[in-house]
Amino acid sequence: MGELKLMKGNEALAESAIRYGCDAYFGYPITPQSEVIEYLSEQNPYERTGMVVLQAESELAAINMVYAAGAAGKRVMTSSSSPGVCLKQEGIAYIAGAEVPCVYADVVRGGPGLGTIQPSQADYFQAVKGGGNGDYKNIVLAPASVQEMADFVALGFDLAFKYRMAVCILSDGAIGQMMEKVVLPEQKPRMTEEEIKAKYPWALTGRKRGTQHRVITSLDLDSNKMEEHNRHLQAKYKMVEENEVRYEEINCEDADYVFVAYGSSARIAQKSVQLGREQGLKLGLLRPITLFPYPTKAIENLINHGVKGFLSVELSCGQMIEDVRLACNGRVKAEHFGRVGGIIHTPEEVLEAMKKQIIGE
């Protein structure tokens, strides 16, 4: 049993990174996630575990530090919020192409552009569908609590190194800023040089004489090799889709209608389920925990078991709804509801939207 604490989501993320044995954090301040680098700087993890914390000159520099330090076999992470994550997309595409493991957290705020500092889920497309150039995917984890902000650091690093790819922890200003109790994991040791060399033979640690030198690159001017590389990446993403789907079902066993919501919207929709059931409506909630890979089969199964319609609840003008509709494939009705611009929907208006848009009069 770990230690019980009352913390902000951003702080829980930072503390669990230290405890996981993370080697380095490279970041740049931006609201609403500056607590991550502030907490790390205050904790002085170099003294605690040898973890490096560096405030870079920009998000661009930070993600490229992550790219190279990850290529060198270390567990490295960064965090930012929407406009900052835009800047990181360059590095994220390189990380995807060069197959470098890393974790980055995006504490989403409203957009487009400078937008607002209030919570939002309007960067689903950017996180889940790409964002940088080329055909690539990142594993996207969507925490709905401070506990999951802490837990998904370890899960993120495990998946990042298992598949040699970036893992995004996609939260929002609400999850990052709110305080909840959290059970923190035990302190794990950082990996030694010998362990890294044994476990990650691809890592840039200095090549042994008489062995092939290692190159981490996303470039190949030979089109045939580049096509082969792209096919390899796609095969890897397929493996991720087959093995790493995570989701939670709440009151779905007998549900006629189901909310689909992740992160802070899932917390709200859970209350809407309760309110609806008090009124005699058989409502359920499907909470995707991984946004890529998406729980498409879970939606298909719910339809097979009689669910008659879905409402995708997001703090956006309708992004995840596209994946819900793809899963429904026209078999049942699927609509979107969400407040935007930093406004957070209430459980009552979410329930009303379900009645109006899905259940009907």
């Binding site: 380095a24 560096l54 490229n64 790219y67 060198a72 640690t205 200095g206 981490i216 690159t217």
Partner: protein, 271 residues
């Protein structure tokens, strides 16, 4: 006497460094990159640090430098080589990390990373190849392009300001050749800053000695960036033969970018 009579081990007077792979360079004949690669490889070999050296290649002509050096390498995004070098050096302080960049990479798109890497005083070695032009993309203006120099994007010659009489007197146009090396030498985070060239054997030897010092400083754990600029040529995009390009370099590039140490052991050299 036949060729076979000559090519014998006992007649060997010179060979390429063991740390250069046998892959043929893609560089244009006459380009300085080949020579610069060779002297870097020789330095790494002489210092015996090949098992702990990690290189960072840029975007530009030397993007595939990783194919030619037999040491571990990462290929950085355009301008981000020193952010990559910082990332590696911070998590592996005992490794020897060097970046290799051209003028567009280091002094235009990567200026922010260059300044801040130097300002933090990262204990790395930065190699900066300045030929005053974008080579890989076909000869466009670089931040270090000389005033009056014709490039694909300054076909009438680079003008710092618009010409008099055009009604726009004194309005900035393409700006001035950027002396990034003098700039970063002013930062307390730089340890050793020097400008060298490789257009003739004497200067190749001097440049190699400078590169060696830049690596030795890093190995000896002297904190601070070790920065070697090498004024080089681009005979293809300068549209000259290699001999003419080297003459042009001496006559035009060196007056703008004079050779020699700018900062040694953290102290600016008195001129």
């Amino acid at each position: 006497m036949t060729v076979e009579d000559i090519i014998k081990p006992e007649n060997l007077v010179y060979e390429k460094s063991k740390l250069l792979t046998s892959k043929p360079f893609h560089y244009c004949p006459g380009c300085g990159h080949g020579t610069i690669h060779r002297i870097i490889a020789e330095v790494i070999e002489e210092l015996g640090i090949d098992e702990k050296t990690i290189g960072v290649s840029p975007v530009g002509c030397s993007v595939m430098a990783y194919d030619y050096f037999d040491v571990d390498f990462i290929e950085a995004a355009h301008g981000r080589a020193t952010a990559c070098a910082t990332g590696i050096k911070r998590v592996w302080p005992d490794k020897v990390v060097f970046s290799y960049q051209g003028d567009g990479d280091l002094a235009a798109i990567g200026t922010c990373e260059t300044i801040h890497t130097c300002n933090r005083g990262e204990n790395i070695t930065m190699i900066f190849v300045n030929n005053g032009i974008y080579g890989m993309t076909g000869g466009q203006m670089a931040p270090t392009t000389l005033e009056g120099m014709k490039t694909a994007t300054t076909p009438y010659g680079r003008k710092a300001t618009l010409p008099a009489g055009a009604g726009f007197d004194g309005i900035p146009n393409n700006g001035y050749p950027l002396h990034i090396t003098e700039l970063i030498a002013r930062l307390p985070g730089t340890k050793y800053v020097t400008r060298q060239a490789v257009y003739d054997p004497a200067h190749v030897r001097k440049a190699k000695a400078a590169i060696k010092k830049a690596f030795e400083n890093q190995i000896n754990g002297k904190s601070g960036v070790n920065f070697v600029e090498i004024v080089s040529n681009c005979n293809s995009n300068w549209k000259m033969d290699p001999v003419k390009a080297n003459q042009w370099l001496v006559e035009n590039m060196l007056p703008e970018y004079p050779l020699g140490d700018i900062k040694v052991d953290g102290k600016l050299v008195e001129k």
